[in-house]
Symmetry: C2
DNA sequence: GGGTATTATCGTATATCTACGATTTACGAT
DNA sequence: ATCGTAAATCGTAGATATACGATAATACCC
């Protein structure tokens, strides 16, 4: 049995789910925040502040890269990671749109009476 | 090896990652949208429009419930699902905050010059 | 109580995720 | 060419995820 029958779902949902999966690990969220806070960050620094082995951090970074959230620039013997601001903006908008759609038919307590 | 060393990460990141994981499947996104669009939705209807077996849909609904995104109300022999608007608002705000933090140190092309 | 419909749960097979150590690759210095 | 450092990849073990059919639980009708 395939893990997910992606063919049967709309492309935008498949794409959004893929990004959500990239975000679905606290370590990756922490990596993202560290990279963003430092503007750009060498892999070694990230390994230092994470409670994970170097190979594991590298693997998480690869997932973030494959999701398009960051990119790594080879800088001599090291790799410098930075967030993709454009992608982040697009993903942020996609999530905002999702939650807007999910909430649009709900009137939890009261409607806007102004 | 434990799947994730949640103890070592900040609580808010762990919580956000958990919600992201609930969203990390196109089927669950579609379920959420269907439930929201119909205001409330009986499980059987959801099974009809999903390309999944009844047991699988039930399992996905359980995950959405455990993430707090929906709740199911037993209505006679069936179960009626609806989204938790308050939770969705909170989660939406959490994601907005995340993307704001991630983007705050980035000036991709130009700053707001108005 | 017996029968039917609806949903949840169980058991299970396969695939993916997470983590690690070990190794390989790439670069700079000697 | 050799060594050392930094990062990616390989191989692997164990836990989770996804999907299904089968079964159990619940409510309704008679």
């Amino acid at each position: 049995m395939p893990r997910t029958r992606s063919e049967t779902y709309p492309d935008d949902l498949v794409a959004l789910a893929a990004v959500a999966r990239a975000l679905a690990h606290p370590g990756r969220l922490q990596l993202l925040e560290a990279i963003a806070a430092r503007r750009s960050c060498v892999c070694g620094e990230l390994v230092e502040l994470m409670p994970l082995a170097q190979s594991t951090v590298s693997q998480h970074l690869k997932e973030l890269k494959e999701a398009g959230l960051v990119h790594g620039v080879v800088d001599g013997p090291r790799t410098c990671y930075c967030v993709d601001a454009g992608k982040l903006a697009a993903v942020g908008a996609a999530f905002a749109g999702l939650f807007a759609r999910l909430g649009c038919c709900e009137r939890p307590k009261e409607e806007d009476h102004g």
